[in-house]
Structures are given as C-alpha cells and as structure tokens.
C-alpha cells in the first residue's frame, strides 16, 4: 500500500471537518474491507484517510420514534445478530449475514457497504424494500433522504466528499412487515452475488391477494434498484404461480444486467425471475398463519 496520512476522528463534526480540509484527497475509512483492498490493488490512492470508527453518533442500533435506526458503523455481524433487526427487519439481518465470511462481517460496516455503491452489495435490497431513509452528516449539518437516492451509479454515491452516512432508518410503519432476502452466488460462502433480491409483501386479510409488494434487486443494474413495474403489477393481483412468474418477468425488465465473466446478462435476467418469485414466496411463508 502506498503511503497516506491518517487521522482518527472522535466526533462527526471533526470527521467532516477533516474530510473537507483535505478534500479531494481524503477518504473516510471504517471497516476498511473494501477500501483497503482497492488501495492494495492500486486502484485508488487517497493521500489522507479519516478513520471514523470512533465517531459516537454513527454507532448503535436503536428503536426511535421514527423507526429502527442502524448506525452506519454497525458491523454486518452486529446487524445479523441484533435481536431488534431480527425481529423488525429479518431480511436486513439475513442480508448482512450473507456478506463475505465471519471475518469480513466482523470488520465490514453496514454504512461502508452502502456508500461503496457497488451494484452487488448485499445490504441494499432488503433496506430498499423497507423504504429505509439515509441520514447524512455534513459540514452543514444533517440531511435525510430515501436510501434509493444514495445510489447514483457503480461506485458512485450522492454524498459530497465531506459528507458521511450517519445511519439508516427503517420507518416505523414498515417494521415487522413480512420480508425475505435471497442471494445467488457461484459459491456458498465468500461470494459476490450474481443477483440478490428482497421483497416486502402485504396482502389482504384473507391472504388471497397481494395488496402491496415492494421488490428490490442487486447486481443487475448500475445501482441496487426497486423493481417498480413488477411491484405495480402485483398490487391487487391474486396470489398465484402465474402471477409470480409474470412478476419475475417484469422485474427482469426493470433491470439492466450486464454480461461479464461471472455470468451473462441473459442468465442474470433469468435469475431475477427465479429470485423474485422465491423472495415473494419466502415473505409469504414468514407471515403468521391466517
């Protein structure tokens, strides 16, 4: 690794001040599982790293009036093991549990994963279907916006160089809703998703029709996406195999997968169909019996 200057920030203000001072040569570092690999591979050479690990504002998982707040510095291991997350957003816990391996999950943070804006990040789809909000801290204070707006393109977020993701908030009205996350990789562990998907499913009380379904996909477009066409189609439709098949087809149309050495776009589109159906079925299966 090439030489860089290192600062450890102990408050959010200090962190963003340092980032601003050394902009554009400074990057924040938290878990480092993504950043340090890219530095070692000679892909990026920040002159300054601002370590935000000890920023208190970005820690912890808490139930607030707004909803379930997960600090950006919470590790994947902590998300996956958190009783609160497991109770109120099980798909989010499952997604964090699917990242890398034990070692990666102990270092890597939820926030770091999200702001990397790699299309295949595992933590995004489950948060997207729960309509999570991003809380961002900058020199001008906090701003909050839907998490979808964080993702601009591959490895490109909507944050300015002196802004940091503080937390994500899963709104109160979505807590405990039936969700499911599924990841398809070429290996059972330590794997990058070819496609990942999440669903949040609401039905009529009789459990015969979908009332509202939210679907999100990863690794199949420049950013993690919501499959809006498929969602619109599902609203009000009967819960039936042919409906799920059509939803899968529409979700594939919502995506823009690419050909690469891991898989063809065509295969990824096919997987979207399969995973879409599986996450909807998974969410339905997790519902209490009628």
């Amino acid at each position: 690794m090439k030489h860089f200057e290192y600062f450890s920030a102990h408050s959010a203000e200090e962190a963003v001040a340092l980032l601003q001072k050394y902009s554009p040569d400074a990057l924040p570092i938290a878990g480092g599982t993504e950043l340090l690999v890219r530095m070692k591979q000679n892909l990026i050479h920040p002159k300054v790293l601002v370590d935000i690990t000890h920023v208190p504002e970005f820690q912890g998982i808490a139930l607030t009036e707004e909803g379930l707040r997960i600090g950006s510095l919470v590790t994947h291991a902590e998300v996956a093991a958190s009783p609160l997350v497991r109770q109120f957003a099980p798909a989010v816990a499952a997604a964090s549990g699917s990242v890398g391996a034990v070692q990666t999950r102990n270092l890597g943070t939820l926030g770091g994963n999200l702001v990397s804006c790699v299309p295949s990040i595992d933590s995004a789809p489950a948060l997207l279907v729960l309509e999570a909000q991003a809380v961002v801290f900058g020199v001008n204070g906090r701003r909050q916006f839907p998490l979808t707006e964080l993702f601009v393109g591959p490895r490109c977020s909507s944050l300015t160089p002196a802004e940091l993701l503080e937390a994500v908030i899963i709104p109160r009205h979505n807590l405990g809703k039936p969700t499911c996350f599924s990841k398809f990789g070429r290996r059972k562990a330590l794997t990058i998703a070819l496609v990942n998907a999440a669903a949040c499913v609401e039905t009529n009380p009789e459990r015969t029709h979908f009332s509202q379904v939210r679907l999100a996909l990863g690794a199949v477009a420049p950013t993690p996406i919501r499959a809006y066409t498929a969602e619109a189609y599902l609203a009000g439709r009967p819960i039936a195999q042919e409906v799920l098949l059509e939803a899968g087809r529409l979700a594939a149309e919502d995506a823009k997968p690419i050909d690469d050495f891991r898989a063809s776009a065509e295969y990824r589109r096919h997987l979207i169909g399969v995973l879409t159906r599986r996450v909807i079925e998974g969410a339905l299966a997790g519902m209490p019996k009628v």
């Binding site: 391996a101 398809f184 070429r186 290996r187 059972k188 562990a189 330590l190 794997t191 990058i192 050495f261 891991r262 898989a263 063809s264 295969y267 096919h270 997987l271 399969v274």
Partner: protein
C-alpha cells in the same frame, strides 16, 4: 425443482515419471542410542511424506517411527531426489530409504551375530531390539549394537542406496513401451442435487475407493483423498481462469477464482481397498495425484443422471447447466411437435 442423481467414474494413474529417469537416493544412519537418522532430498509439501518415509525406515529397522530423525531438502546435505512430484515419494523415495535401511541393518546383524552367538540369518529386528528368531530370550538392543559397532569396532552403522523405477521408452511411431513401473486405480461415486430453476449443482456425497497398494499411514492417505476431492469439486463446478480478448486474466484473485469453502464440500467417505504391490516399499504405491482425477467426471455423470443433460465442458457452472437444460427442453418440444 431439485433433482438428485448419482455418477460413477474410475481411473488409473501411474506412479513416477513418464519414461525418464527419476531416481531417489537415501542415507540411513543408526545412532548409538538406537535411533536412526534418514537423509533424503525430497521436500515435504504438506502431504506427510517425511512421516511416511520415517515409518518405512522404522519398519525396516524394527524401531519406532518416533525414533527416526528426518533430515531433508538441502542440496548440500541430503542425497539426490527427483522431488515431490508424480506421486512418487512413497514409492520411489520409500524404496530408496528401505534399501538404505537394509544396508544399515546388514551391518547391525553382522555385528550382533557374534555377540549373540548365532548366524546373521537367524536374526530379526523388532521393538528396537535384535532377536534370535524363535529364541526370544536371546536379544540385544539396537543401540547397544550400534554403539559397539561404531565405538569398539570402528564401523558406523550406516547404509546408503538409490532407486529408480525401471521403464522402457516408448517407440516414437507406435508409442509401445513401458512408460511407468506401476499404476494405482480408483473409483469415486458422487451424489448431486441439481436445481432445475437455476442450474445450481450441490454435491451431497462422494464415496471414494482408492488403491494405493499398502497404505503406510491410512490417516494420511484419507487426508490426501479428501483434499484431492475438494480440488476435484472446484475443477468440476467453479474454478476457471477467464481471460479477456487481449489476454488479461479476469479472475486473478481469490474473490473471483472460486475454490471450494467448507460449506461447498460434501460428506466424503473414503475406502482404501486392500492391495499390495511387490515392487513398492512394504507393498505401497502412492496416492497424491489420483485423488482428484475421477471427481469431476463422477459429478458430471451425476448431473446427467439427475437431469439428463451432458455437459461437454468444465466447469459445470449453474449458467451452463441451465443452458443445457433449456436446450434439452427445446429439443423435446420440437420432437414432440413433429411426431
């Protein structure tokens, strides 16, 4: 839908180099305390060769393998060895060490015979002692004999030997000849589950029956077989170096060149079949390489058994399996519509 299938594959594999000379030499010294030091030019690469070679020396000398000191892999200090390649160490280096130990034992017997008042052909070694056959009350420790031989007679107890497997070069036109001195055989059977929606293949179980002649150390043989199978599973399903059109390797890290992890590996049941090769040390041949040879074929045959598609190229990625399934469906549909 998930479908299960079983596949069998067998193989043969030679021990030692293809035609060319591949000698091993060894020195075995019996120390004054009854232990032995073995000098070998082979390199321990993790397979446990030094342990196995110590067992061979110990068996020939009649001492405990714990009492064998192995000195290896230094061109200044150890005799020539062609190296840990071609599954040859147990067989070729093992033969050399056994022969060297025999030389040392010959000195021990020549020295011990008058001490015990018998002929050399009446002696045997066991448990660190030299015994008069059929007269267990007459015996002497190897250390005592080695000490006496070295210190009193001025004759250190040491043997050296080399061995090279005999081969006959192949005729350049017909390829007729004897390229290797011996071969091992194996059969592996795989059980797989294929997800017909995604093409994903799960290997559930592998039964591996291997011939390695006499297993000098069955635990290490099992380890070789289990490890070889994991390499075979990777070869069958996930490992592939992929290049871009300008020759850039796209899979140059362990995050995209996928070797099996703990959760990718099936249950493995190992059977070491009873066999004996008179040309090997104590009947042993070898086991290193053959362990992965039939694995991919067994898995691909199991995929065929499960879903009826034959894959003609490795690795059997989910995408390839699914594509083959789709092509088969399309064929079936055409067939049914034309009939």
């Amino acid at each position: 839908m998930k479908k299960r299938g079983r596949g069998i594959a067998c193989m043969w594999y030679p021990i030692g180099f293809t035609v060319s000379a591949n000698p091993s030499a060894a020195v075995v010294k019996v120390n004054e305390d009854g232990t032995a030091t073995v000098l070998t030019g082979t390199v321990e690469i993790g397979q446990g060769s030094l342990t196995v070679l110590a067992q061979i020396a110990a068996e020939e000398l009649g001492i405990s393998p714990r009492d064998v000191i192995m000195v290896s892999a230094d061109t200044d200090g150890t005799p020539v060895d062609t190296g840990a390649i071609a599954s040859r160490t147990t067989y070729v280096t093992g033969n050399a060490i056994r022969l060297a130990a025999k030389e040392a034992k010959k000195i021990l017997f020549e020295v011990a015979a008058p001490m015990l008042g018998v002929r050399t052909d009446q002696l045997e070694t066991r448990q660190g002692r030299i015994w008069v056959i059929d007269f267990p009350q007459k015996n002497i420790s190897i250390g005592e004999v080695a000490y006496y031989s070295q210190v009193k007679l001025g004759r250190p107890v040491q043997g050296s030997a080399s061995w090279n497997p005999p081969t006959v070069p192949l005729d350049p036109q017909t390829g007729q000849g004897k390229p290797f001195n011996t071969y091992v055989y194996a059969t592996q059977i795989a059980e797989v589950e294929v997800d017909t929606e995604t093409g994903q293949v799960d290997v559930l179980r592998i039964v591996a029956a291997h011939d390695c002649g006499t297993p000098i150390n069955p635990m290490l043989v099992e380890g070789q077989i289990q490890g070889g199978i994991s390499m075979g599973v990777g070869f069958a399903l996930s490992e592939e170096m992929v290049f871009s059109s300008n020759g850039t390797l796209l899979t140059s890290s362990l995050s995209n060149y996928l070797i099996p992890t703990t959760v990718d590996m099936p249950e493995i049941e190992v059977i070491i079949v009873d066999n004996y090769d008179p040309t090997g040390p104590f009947g042993a041949k070898g086991v290193g390489e053959p362990t992965l040879v039939p694995t991919a074929a067994a898995i691909l045959n199991a995929i065929y058994d499960a879903v009826g598609v034959r894959l003609y190229s490795l690795p059997a990625t989910p995408e390839k399996v699914l594509k083959a399934l789709r092509e088969k469906e399309a064929q079936n549909n055409t067939a049914s519509s034309t009939h």
